[in-house]
Each structure stands twice: as C-alpha cells, then as structure tokens.
C-alpha cells in the first residue's frame, strides 16, 4: 500500500473523467435552470434515460469485445410490434391505426416470449459473426434492416395503441413512488457491473476485445464469449423495447429509429473504447446520465425544437473535445497504458469505491 500522492489523484481524475464532467454539468444546469434539481425533474431524467441506459449496457459489452451491435434498435422495433400484435384484440386497420392478431395472449406469456426473441436475434448475430466469420458491422447492419422491415411488415406501418396494464408495469409503473424502469435499470447496471468487473466472463470479454488471437491462444473460446455477448445484447434490447412500449402504451413501427447513434455516443462518452478491451459498465452509466441530463435540459430551456438537435450535438462535441484532452494527458503520463489486467483492476476499484 503506497500513500496516494498528487500524481495518483490526477490519474484517478483522468481515469474517471466522465464523473467530473457529470458533476460540472449538474452544477451548471442546476444553477441556470429553474427546477432542474427538483424531484419530479430528476425522476423525469432517469425515466427517459432508462431505455437508453438498458441499451447502452448491451452495446458496451459488444464494444468491449471490439464489436458493435447495430441491430439493437431493430430489435426494439420488432419486439414492440410483436408484443402489441400478440396482446391486442383484432381490429380493422383504419386511419393508420391497427389492432393485434386477435390471439390476445396474456402479458405473462408475451413478456418471456419477446425476451427470448431478442436473445435469439442476438444469438444468430453472434453465430454468424463468430462461426461463419462474417463481418460484424454488416451482419448487425443487415439484421437491423431485416428486423425493422419485419416490424413494418407485421404492423403494416400502422400504430397499435392500448397495451394492457400488466405489460406497461415495467415502463410506466411505480414502486413506492419510484419508477419501476429506473429501479430495473439501476439493478441491471449493478448486475452487469459486477459480472464485467468480478466474474470470469467479464475478464474474457475484455481479453477478447484487447486481442482475439491472444485470447484464443490462452486457451478459451472467443467464439463462445462473443456469442454470449451478442445474446445478452439482444436480450437487453428486447428488454428496452418492452420498457419503451410500456411507457408509450402504443406500438409505433418506427420505435427506436436512430437510437443506435445515441447509444454508441453514450457508451463512448462514458469511456468505453471502440477499439475494444477498455471501459467499464459504471463509466457507461455515467455516459447515459450525461446524455439524459443534456436532453432534459434542452427541453427545459425551451430551445427552439428546430435547433434542439444542433445544440445537443454541440454539447456532445464539446464533451468529446474535453475528453480527448484527458486521453492526451493520460498518453503523456506514460507507462500506464491500459492493458487488460490494468483495466480489470480499475473496474474493481471503481466497483469497490
């Protein structure tokens, strides 16, 4: 045990830089926007952040294994459409509004079904990538097209309103005043944070991401690990779809469109590298909080809706530029180039502290 010195503190700050940015953001928004730190608004930030947050976990796992999952937003669309289709009573399509298939399954059957569907989609992705050696970028991109197309084809492009209350519980329910979606999301972050920093599986993911050949040489099967990662990503995307549909209570076939870019941005702002083998689930959580807070602030500040996207992009850009300076500093600091073990240790520290 060395005594911490100034250098250690600086290193600690750069490694967990996103939290510094986050605190700064809270202070700035809290001081400038009236009611920003009110209980209702904090709940609002967390509720809107929860769907994004669940998807970021899956994407982070993929990024840590030096992969990407572009299909997740397609899974969200498909799962939401399939769920509504199976649960709602039949009705003729009119005014771009449709009913379900007419089987009116119980939500308790539909929920496991859609989660299994998501996991299956992820498994198929992983299988094609690892067993058939297909390029992960195109596989998941093609999958996104297939899934979104299926969602549109099943729903015939129409919305399906009025999902049952039992189904909406995850997205819209509250326990003791706290939104269920927020509790679920935080729970998932704790579980996956533990898995990735403390369990063998997490180490394997980092190892595969850092160097797949070396991982193979060290005696475990990268294929198995990556297929599991994609299966988890598909499962989480389905969960996010359930959550989102539960909140909206209406299936919209374009649900989730454009989410991927936000998801990847949140993960990377949170310190998960696109080059694999780096970052932590806790860091990704910070990235999600940051994006959710920015979105919420833009709403509250009454920014002209036509300009909201531009301002949000600019804020993300500024965060990235600041983040790049941190990387630069870390690079200059020299020998502490992150290797797999260092990262794994750092995560443990983060989980402990």
């Amino acid at each position: 045990m060395r005594t911490p010195n100034r250098h250690d503190l600086l290193e600690f700050l750069t490694r967990h830089f996103i939290w510094v940015v986050l605190v700064f953001t809270v202070v700035v928004f809290g001081l400038t926007i009236k009611g920003y730190l009110g209980l209702a608004n904090i709940a609002n930030i967390l509720i809107t952040g929860s769907v994004l947050g669940v998807m970021v976990i899956g994407q982070s796992l993929c990024l840590m294994a030096r992969k990407l999952d572009l299909s997740a937003e397609g899974t969200v669309s498909l799962v939401a459409v399939v769920a509504a289709w199976l649960m709602l009573p039949y009705r003729e399509t009119d005014l771009a509004q449709a009913g379900g298939l007419g089987v009116e399954l119980d939500p308790l059957i539909v929920i496991p079904l859609i989660l299994a569907l998501g996991a299956l989609i992820g498994f198929v992705n992983g299988f094609m990538i690892m067993k058939l050696n297909m390029n992960f970028f195109i596989v998941t991109l093609a999958m996104q097209l297939v899934l979104r197309g299926l969602a549109l084809a099943i729903s015939e492009g129409a919305i399906m309103p009025g999902t049952p209350a039992a189904f909406n519980w995850l997205g819209g329910g509250r326990i003791a005043g706290i939104p269920v979606s927020v509790i679920a999301t935080i729970g998932l972050y704790l579980v996956f944070g533990f898995v990735m920093s403390r369990m063998q599986f997490g180490r394997k993911v980092y190892a595969v991401g850092a160097n797949e050949d070396a991982a193979r040489a060290s005696g475990f099967s990268p294929a198995r690990t990556v297929i599991l990662v994609y299966t988890a990503s598909g499962f989480l995307a389905a969960l996010a779809g359930w959550m989102l549909l539960g909140r909206l209570e209406t299936s919209v076939p374009n649900l989730g469109i454009g989410l991927t870019l936000n998801v990847v941005a949140a993960a990377v702002i949170g310190g998960v590298s696109l080059k694999g083998g780096e970052g932590s689930i806790i860091g990704a959580f910070a990235g999600v909080l940051f994006l959710a807070m920015v979105n919420n602030a833009l709403n509250l500040m009454n920014v002209d809706p036509l300009w909201v996207n531009a301002v949000r992009g600019l804020i993300i850009l500024v965060a990235l530029i600041i983040d790049a300076q941190k990387t630069r500093y870390a690079g200059r600091a020299g020998p502490s180039a992150p290797t797999t073990t260092v990262v794994a240790d750092a995560d443990q520290n983060a989980a402990v502290s």
Binding site: I138, G149, A265, L306, I316
Partner: protein, 357 residues
C-alpha cells in the same frame, strides 16, 4: 515443389466478387421481371444511385485511411438546404437573394469542404475519436439544417442548378420506352473513375492506403498522417456537398430530412464493395460495384411490386448473403496464402492476414 499455384480464374473471381454479385442480381431481376430490362429502368438505376454513390465515394475515401465520416448524410442535407435558401425568392421560403446558381454551387462545395476540414482537424489535431466526432457532427449539421430551413421544403430551382442532378444528356426513344442518359449518372461514374485513379496511381493515394494499414508505420515512414487524414475528410465533405447538389437537382427541391438515415446503407454498400472499416483495404471501383448492387436491388424489388415494408427485409437478407460469401472469400484467400507460404518455406508459418470479423 511449386504445385501450390492457385487456380488463376478462381482467384480472379474471388478478388472481384462484388461484380459477380452485381451481374447475378442483374440477371436474376431480368429473369424475374420483364420490366426490369426496359430502357427506362436501366437509365433509372444509374440516376437513382447518383447522390447515394457520392456518399459512398466519400465513405470509401475515409475507409481507406481507416476512418469514418458518419456526418456526410447530414452534410448532404445542410448543403442542399443552404443552397436552396440562397437560390429562391423569399415568397418561396428562401432568403430572397437569388444568387447566381454557379456561385451557389461553388459556395455549397466550399461549405462541404469546410465541414470536412473541421472534422479532420478535430480528429487529428485535437485528438477526438473519429466515429464520435462525426456522430456529433451528424446531429449538429442535421439540427442546423432544420434550424435554417423554413420548416418545410423549398422547391423550384433555376435550371443551371438542377442540371447536374436532374439534367439529361441524351434521350433515346425506343418502342419499349425512353432510355434517358442522365447527367448525374455520367457524373457519378466519372467521379468514381477519378477517385480510383487518385487513390491507386498517385503518391497521395498510396499514402492513404499506408495510413489505413498502419498509421504508426506510415508516420515512421515519413508520411504526414495528419495532413493525409485532413485532406481525406475535406474530400469526403466535398463529395457530400456534391451528393446534396445531385439530390436537390433530381428532386428540384430541398427538404430538411434529405439524406437522413442513409449512412448505414452507405456503409453497407461500401463494405459489400470490398472496403474494410479497419482501413487499408479495398478499392474505389469495388465500392462503385457496391453502389450498383444496392441500386439494382432497390429498383428491382420496386419493379417487382414488393411491398416497401418487405424491401428492407429482403435487402437485409441479401446483404447477409453477400457478407457470407465475402467471409468464404477471405477464408479462401487465406488458404491460398497459407499454401503459398507453406510451399516457399519448409517451416510454413502462415501469414497474419486478419479474417473478416
């Protein structure tokens, strides 16, 4: 012991797999639909791929150096809207300046180049991750497009402005309908040819491949990596502005959503055409094959009366099939190289060629 010579013909086919796909898709649609081979449709395939093709070209440039530019779809929208504002009267939603079309075209190309310059400087000099910068720019530019737009589309541009995107070079009248040789179709072919020559046969092009294969090695070899990357981003921005010009010209309108959500399809076409997101691989002509394939699928499925909802599904499935074949190709090439290496050395340590994933 030189019996490991691979079959020449098979190798040639494997190297140019994309063109087999293009040919296969073309023949398949010709057999499946009698209207696919109509002169009108053949002209249409090229015309419809023009703006999309310019985006793929921009992506091909960045891919070769191992970079991304996701912002090009928004650059397309912004440059088109920017031009529209300066072209039309204030009653039609513009600023009422009604500037000279040629000046406007020049200005929009400069705007595209400046966006590229900004991306390139942030990536190389400030050190921000290329994917993230361009994602952020995708939001910023799309947002700015909405912001400067009157909230609706702007249409009816002067003829000089729409000539490149919507003009006709020749119209050949046949019994089956008219074959229209569009300016845009010829332009995009020329652009890809110039791009191919530029990347293959100039020093700058060789530097691009070197940077994409290994930036550190390229730096060590004395290449100014930052400069190469910045110039590539400027080229990508200008290509995106051309795409905006072509699209606005073809539609004779600019809408704030123009180009939105195109980027993944653009990547799909480039990668099917043999480019790699890890850089240093593929060639520009192959990427053009990717554009043609995408466009043939689009028009073919449309003509066959496939519901638009199922077109995405079939597109995705065909994309998957193409990647599967590509994976087999990589494996084949790997095996060939292994055999050659084994034939040359008795030890037979294989090469370190990365496989597709």
């Amino acid at each position: 012991m030189k019996r490991a010579e691979p079959n020449r013909l098979v190798s040639l086919m494997v190297d140019n797999l994309i063109w087999l796909f293009v040919l296969g898709a073309f023949i398949a649609f010709s057999l499946l639909s009698d209207r696919f081979l109509s002169p009108y449709n053949l002209g249409n395939i090229l015309l419809r791929s023009a703006a999309f093709g310019m985006l793929v070209l921009s992506q091909a440039y960045t891919f070769i150096t191992g970079n991304f530019d996701l912002s090009v779809e928004s650059s397309l929208g912004l440059t088109a809207m920017f031009a529209a504002l300066m072209l039309v009267t204030s009653e039609a939603g513009g600023l009422g300046w009604q500037l000279d079309p040629l000046l406007v075209i020049l200005l929009m190309l400069i705007l595209g180049g400046l966006i590229g310059l900004f991306n390139g400087v942030l990536i190389t000099k400030v050190g921000v991750n290329n994917l993230l910068v361009t994602i952020a720019m995708l939001f910023v530019l799309r947002g700015a497009t909405y912001g400067i737009s009157p909230g609706t589309s702007i249409s009816f541009f002067p003829k000089e402005f729409t000539w490149l995107g919507g003009g006709t070079l020749a119209r050949i009248v046949t019994d089956d309908g008219n074959f229209v040789l569009s300016v845009a179709g010829i332009f995009v072919i020329l652009a890809f040819l110039v791009g191919h020559i530029h990347t293959r046969y100039t020093q700058f092009g060789r530097n691009m491949y070197a940077v994409g294969a290994d930036a550190d090695a390229a730096r060590a070899a004395g290449i100014n990596v930052d400069r190469v990357v910045i110039i590539v981003y400027i080229i990508a921005g200008v290509c995106a502005a051309f795409a905006g010009l072509l699209q606005a010209g073809r539609l004779n309108a600019a809408t704030p959503t123009m180009g939105a959500n195109l980027i993944f399809a653009v990547h799909g076409a480039a990668i099917i055409g043999g480019m790699s997101i890890y850089g240093g691989r593929g060639n520009i002509i192959g990427a053009f094959g990717g554009v043609l394939l995408w466009s043939i699928l689009d028009t073919g499925l449309n003509i066959m009366g496939v519901s638009p909802f199922w077109i995405d599904v079939s597109r995705g499935l065909l994309l998957l099939f193409a990647v599967l074949l590509d994976a087999l190709r990589v494996r084949y090439q790997h095996n060939v190289q292994m055999r050659l290496a084994l034939a040359d050395t008795t030890v037979g340590l294989g090469d370190k060629e990365q496989s597709g994933g």
